[in-house]
Each structure stands twice: as structure tokens, then as C-alpha cells.
Symmetry: C2
Subunit: 175 residues, 2 copies
């Protein structure tokens, strides 16, 4: 029998995402969020901020109920609505994306300028990469013009193997 073992995803709290210093990502994202909310006159409350922080703990998409579990120790009382309301706010402000095909959420790396990127989810390490992909967006605009379809929202989600995982093939053992 052949067993294919993928490396387990790193723990949600470890800054191990493929070796980059993720603390920098998170700090920058939170600063940008504060600024954006200030400029817009909307409130990044402690609850909303905490959810955003948790989402930014890694580049893996996180599920609403996992966020809930992480919040409970702090609040003691958090319920689904608490999390979903924070998520709704963050989505409205373009600070996070929902990965529809995973029912999960990731921080938006381009919250201060571009939205509606390609979302590349690695089925091995579960990290999601966001790519503005101008060429793809233009091709879609052309296609929709032909179809005379007036766009409101795009979700472009690709699942596959990222370059880092492709370079570190899974351990294969015969038992």
C-alpha cells in the first residue's frame, strides 16, 4: 500500500508560513485597517479588530467557527452572531475576503487599493495567495461586455499546488 503524507499545516499561531516573517504582514494589515476606518468614519471596534488580527495570524483561510473558538477564551460569551457581524463589517470595508469554495476567510492584502483578485488556494499547505491579475480581469471585462452582463461582484477561486509545496514533494512511504 502506498501512503502519501502531506506535511501538516503549521499551527494557527506559529509564524511559520513558508518561512516568511509573517508578523510584518499582520502589523501592516492592521495599521492599514485602522487608517482606512478612520478615513471612512467607521469604527474598528475591539471585537472587529480582534477578528481581523486572528484572520491575519496566517495566510491560511480560517472558518467562522474556528474564529469563534479562538475568541471565546477572551470574551467567555461569544456566539456565532458575534463573529459573523464582525466578518460582515470587515467584508463591507474590503479588509477581508470570503473564500466561497471553502466557507472561510482571509485578510485582504490590497485593502487600500484593489479588490476582487484571484484567490489561489494551495490544497497542500492551505495558504491562500491573492493576485490582482490585471490580464485576467481585463479578459473577464471583455467577456462580460460581449455577454452584455453588468457585473456586481466577482469570485475567482483556483485550487491547486503552490510553488513552495511543489518544491517540497510529500513524503511517500510503502507500508
Amino acid at each position: 500500500m502506498q501512503l502519501t503524507v502531506f506535511p501538516a499545516p503549521t499551527s494557527p499561531t506559529a509564524n511559520l508560513d513558508h518561512g516568511h516573517d509573517h508578523g510584518g504582514c499582520r502589523t501592516k494589515a492592521l495599521q492599514t485597517a485602522e487608517q482606512l476606518c478612520n478615513n471612512r468614519g467607521v469604527r474598528l471596534t475591539p471585537m472587529r479588530r480582534q477578528v481581523l488580527e486572528l484572520i491575519w495570524e496566517s495566510h491560511r483561510a480560517i472558518k467562522a467557527y474556528d474564529l469563534l473558538d479562538r475568541i471565546k477564551p477572551t470574551t467567555g460569551t461569544a456566539k456565532p452572531a458575534t463573529v459573523y457581524r464582525a466578518l460582515d463589517f470587515l467584508l463591507e470595508q474590503g479588509l477581508i475576503h470570503k473564500v466561497e469554495s471553502l466557507n472561510a476567510f482571509i485578510g485582504c492584502s490590497f485593502s487600500d487599493h484593489q479588490h476582487q483578485q484571484l484567490l489561489l488556494t494551495c490544497i497542500r499547505c492551505l495558504e491562500v495567495e491573492e493576485r490582482p491579475a490585471a490580464g485576467v480581469m481585463e479578459a473577464i471585462d471583455r467577456e462580460l461586455e460581449q455577454a452584455a452582463f453588468i457585473i456586481h461582484h466577482k469570485a475567482i477561486e483556483i485550487h491547486g499546488i503552490c510553488i513552495r509545496c511543489a518544491k517540497h514533494p510529500p513524503i511517500t512511504a510503502t507500508i
Copy 2:
């Protein structure tokens, strides 16, 4: 107060999808499905066929539990697993698509050749149009080559207003 009233979606059983004779679509889709399954040596059982027929009753995406409600009168006993198993089979065979952003399913119009199309969902009439969109697919392939991302599956979902609904503006009343 301004009230914007969109025309209600036509009933699931009516062949009224924007005026085209939908019976033809359905019949053709079912014939293609029978052929494909025969060629592949897989079984389009009565249950699976019924689910496919129900999905093809319109061009609107249908939810698993709505399918379940439609099946119950016939079988008396259908449970979620019954429907989900049929859906899994139809997805595997490429006879239907899941619209991830709706948690709903539509028949595939290109089951005998192309897969992984653009799915255009009209937020007014709720119909889903499938478009192969070669230009978009090429642009995505180029982008993924740059990212060195090995693709397994695409979900490209656009929400907006279709050409037919754009031509029939909603009734607007002041109350």
C-alpha cells in the same frame, strides 16, 4: 420611501425562463447524460436521473434541500444523503456544476466537451449562464504560469444583471 420591486423568479416548474423553450434544453441534456454514462460504464440510476431532471427544470441554480423537497413526494423517504450522493455523482461526471457562492447547483451545458466555465449569475432573475470564455481561461493559465501554481480546479463566479433583466427594468414605486 422608494420601493424597488424585481419581477419574482418564475416557478421552478414553469418553462418560462426568459421566454425560450426550455424543454429542449432539458431533453438534450438528459440524452447527453445517458450517452456519456453509457460510454463511461457508469450508471445513471433513476434517483440520479431524477435529480438531474429537477436541476434542469430551469436555468436557475437549485439548492440541495430544495431538490430534497421536490424528491420527497416521489420517494416518500428521501433524506439529505440521498440527494448529496446523487449530486456527488453528477459533479464527478461533469454533468452539473456547483455554484460555490450560492451553495446551489446547475446543469452543465457543455458536459460532453468543455468544463470549468465562467458562471454568470443574475441577481435579479437568478438564472445562471455558463460561458467557456476561452480568453479568460488563457489569461488565467498565463497568470498561474507566472505564479508557478499547478491548477487542480477553478471556480469563476460572477454576480450581476443579465442582458434580459437589464432590458426590463424593475418596477419602481413611491409609497
